[in-house]
């Protein structure tokens, strides 16, 4: 045995070091806290629809988690294969993969290019660039299991340089492709209507034509793949400021496009409302408003010292409704650390102090009714240590 001391020594060193390293890691891993969602007030069913994606942070370390009404799952605690299953991907995609695993093979992980209506799921390959002048379309009928596949040819438009698909909508036998088309001198916002029976484009509307410097934004919630009758598009006209070396937004316009009729309507932006701060480097998010889009309304929301004030635009009637206000509380607004729109609902994540205890809660506002419908606390239910200094950051809240 003495003769083999080098081998024995190296083997002991390797097994001893890596063994203790991974065993120590496994033992240390027990020490992550459990959190739960608890309704403080309002609708108790809302928390059952929520998936909170966030990070538990302590000193300099952090661990990503997903929190639902049932459980908290830390990314760290998943096994190797589970960690590859898209822990952070949108819930819509996870649901689609769970329900239609074969159909989802080889497809994009962005919900923007999927649509669902009347038992059918549609998918459009996400982009076209030079040399590739076809779009692949796939439709799955979930009841009959029939698949329809065809390609859309854009090669006849010789000037077209690139198309970005922003959204896909499915409505009966029509599919709508919402795109930004890039031409040498300008870019255009298009809505293509595709007949699923004829498998070709039957209508092409150019909603916006602008120079490349200006911005086009789609305001619809693209994680919701169910049919949305109205497409809301915003244009930001920018000017370059040589003093700050920055493009400033000098004007904004918003339009609605009604998919079934092809009607384009300008939307009045409330006076004084802006989504851009004067100083682009100002990190204070409460100075500017935000736009939330529901199925029938566009909401222009601004912060006040104790809540939200907003004006809703009724898309069906093409008119602004009166101003509404939702009181959240001064401390809640001051402690605001994240905002997550979900159609007519918005989730506001805020951290407040109560008798030296920090309360982390989500305030759910229904913009259609103007109500604070629920307050849900992220409550520490099981701590590994008696005293623990920690924080919880949220980067996304989605509805199941």
């Amino acid at each position: 045995m003495k003769r083999y001391w080098k081998i024995i020594g190296l083997v002991l060193l390797i097994f001893g070091t890596f063994g203790s390293l991974y065993i120590h890691k496994a033992l240390a891993q027990v020490a992550l806290p459990e959190f739960e969602l608890v309704t403080i007030s309002g609708d108790e069913t809302i928390l059952e629809e929520m998936i909170v994606y966030g990070d538990f942070t302590q000193e300099s370390s952090w661990e990503s988690f997903r929190l639902t009404s049932d459980e908290i799952t830390y990314f760290r605690d998943l096994n190797f294969l589970e960690q590859h299953r898209g822990f952070f991907q949108p819930w819509t995609i996870e649901w689609l993969i769970e329900e239609e695993r074969n159909f989802m093979r080889g497809k994009s992980y962005f919900p923007d290019v999927f649509a669902e209506d009347d038992g059918k799921i549609a998918y459009v390959s996400p982009y076209m660039s030079n040399g590739l002048d076809e779009f692949r379309v796939e439709i799955l009928n979930r009841e009959t299991r029939d698949k329809q596949k065809f390609a859309l040819d854009f090669s006849s438009d010789e000037e077209l340089r690139e198309i970005h698909v922003l959204n896909v909508q499915l409505y009966g036998n029509a599919m709508y492709l919402i795109t930004i088309n890039h031409y040498p001198d300008e870019k255009e916002f298009h809505v293509y209507e595709i007949s699923l029976e004829e498998e070709k484009i039957v209508n092409d509307d150019t909603v916006v034509e602008i120079e490349h410097d200006h911005h086009i934004n789609l305001f619809n919630l693209t994680t919701d793949i169910s049919f949305q009758e109205y497409i809301i598009v915003g244009i930001e006209y920018v000017e370059y400021d040589e003093a700050t070396y920055y493009y400033h937004v000098v004007d904004e316009e918003i339009y609605s496009y009604h998919l079934p009729t092809g009607e384009i309507q300008p939307i009045d932006i409330p006076e004084g409302f802006t989504t851009y701060p004067d100083d682009p480097f100002d990190e204070e998010q409460l100075d500017v408003g935000f736009i939330a889009v529901g199925k029938e309304h566009v909401h222009f929301v601004e912060y006040t010292s104790d809540g939200l004030r907003y004006v809703s635009y009724d898309l069906g009637k093409n008119k602004q409704e009166g101003e509404k206000e939702v009181i959240l509380g001064e401390a809640e607004v001051a402690g605001l650390s994240g905002l997550y729109p979900a159609g007519n609902r918005i989730y506001l994540y805020t951290k407040t102090e109560d008798d030296s205890n920090r309360i982390r809660k989500m305030m759910v506002v229904d913009l259609a009714d103007g109500d604070l419908v629920s307050e849900v606390e992220i409550k520490l239910s099981e701590a590994p240590k008696e005293t623990m200094v920690y924080d919880v950051d949220i980067f996304s809240i989605q509805e199941k």
């Binding site: 083999y4 070091t17 300099s60």
Partner: protein
């Protein structure tokens, strides 16, 4: 079996001097890096307090706290690691060619040993694996020592103490170090499984060259290209079609296929094509 261990011991002994030099260089340079970088940080701290008139809080806010992160991202820390990697890659070739081109064409004696010739192949591979993992294990211990040195040199309010796992995990994110010290045991198997597969492919390619000489160079290179291409094929052919976990399982199967084929081919070449 005894012959196998004898051969492994023999191979280790032949490389032991260079191995000790690599260990010595790593220990000296990395400990020096820890001491020098800590000292530079404290000198900067003194300067900032006396000449820039900063408070301790302002200094930490502006320049951050000292941790092993600064040490592990320094040149002096990484030079011995790179040097050791290069030396071991070079040794993968040297371990075979020295037997042919050494003083007494030692390979003829080795091939005449009353033991299956594949033991020669496995013993050389085992020696490489032991030396690679031994160096990495030593690096882990060294990181713990460096952490303690940091504790002695830098006051607690100016430093952040990281464990080895924190250093390579997402919190700090020293991903270069996480390649050689994988964050989990599964990753350990993946990283070193790939490394060992590469060593087996290389050994077989070398044996092609030794078997067919000039023609063997092309055969060896061709074999290596084909083996790597087979292993990577699902990532190119079906990377989009397969889900990540399926891709991983296919990867494991192909890893076993390529590694097994390399060993089988090595055995065949050693027994049928290399003659004494």
């Amino acid at each position: 079996m005894k012959s196998f261990w004898k051969l492994v011991d023999f191979e280790l002994s032949r490389f032991s001097r260079i191995y000790v030099v690599l260990i010595g260089m790593t220990v000296v340079l990395q400990l020096m890096a820890t001491i020098i970088i800590s000292k530079l940080y404290l000198d900067h701290f003194d300067y900032a307090l006396h000449f820039e008139e900063l408070t301790i809080g302002q200094f930490i806010e502006q320049y951050g706290k000292m941790s092993l992160e600064q040490v592990t991202s320094s040149m002096w820390f990484n030079i011995p690691i790179v040097f050791s990697i290069v030396a071991l890659i070079f040794y993968c070739f040297f371990i075979w060619y020295r037997d042919w081109f050494g003083k007494n064409t030692f390979i003829y004696r080795l091939l005449m040993l009353p033991t299956p010739r594949i033991n020669l192949y496995f013993s050389k591979a085992a020696a490489i694996f032991l030396m690679v993992l031994g160096l990495v294990a030593m690096q882990v211990i060294l990181l713990i020592i460096q952490g303690n040195i940091l504790k002695w040199l830098v006051p607690a309010n100016l430093r952040i103490d990281y464990s080895v796992m924190e250093l390579i995990g997402d919190s700090v994110g020293n991903y270069h170090l996480a390649v050689i010290i994988p964050y989990s045991f599964t990753q350990f198997l993946t990283h070193y499984g790939l490394g060992f597969m590469a060593v087996f492919i290389l050994f077989t390619a070398i044996l092609f060259e030794r078997s067919y000489r000039l023609k063997g160079i092309f055969l060896g290179i061709g074999y290596a290209i084909v083996a790597i291409a087979i292993f990577l094929s699902p990532y190119f052919i079906a990377g989009d079609f397969l889900y990540p976990e399926e891709l991983f399982i296919v990867g494991v199967v192909l890893w076993a296929l390529v590694t097994g084929t390399s060993i089988w081919m090595g055995n065949y070449l050693l027994n049928k094509k290399i003659t004494v």
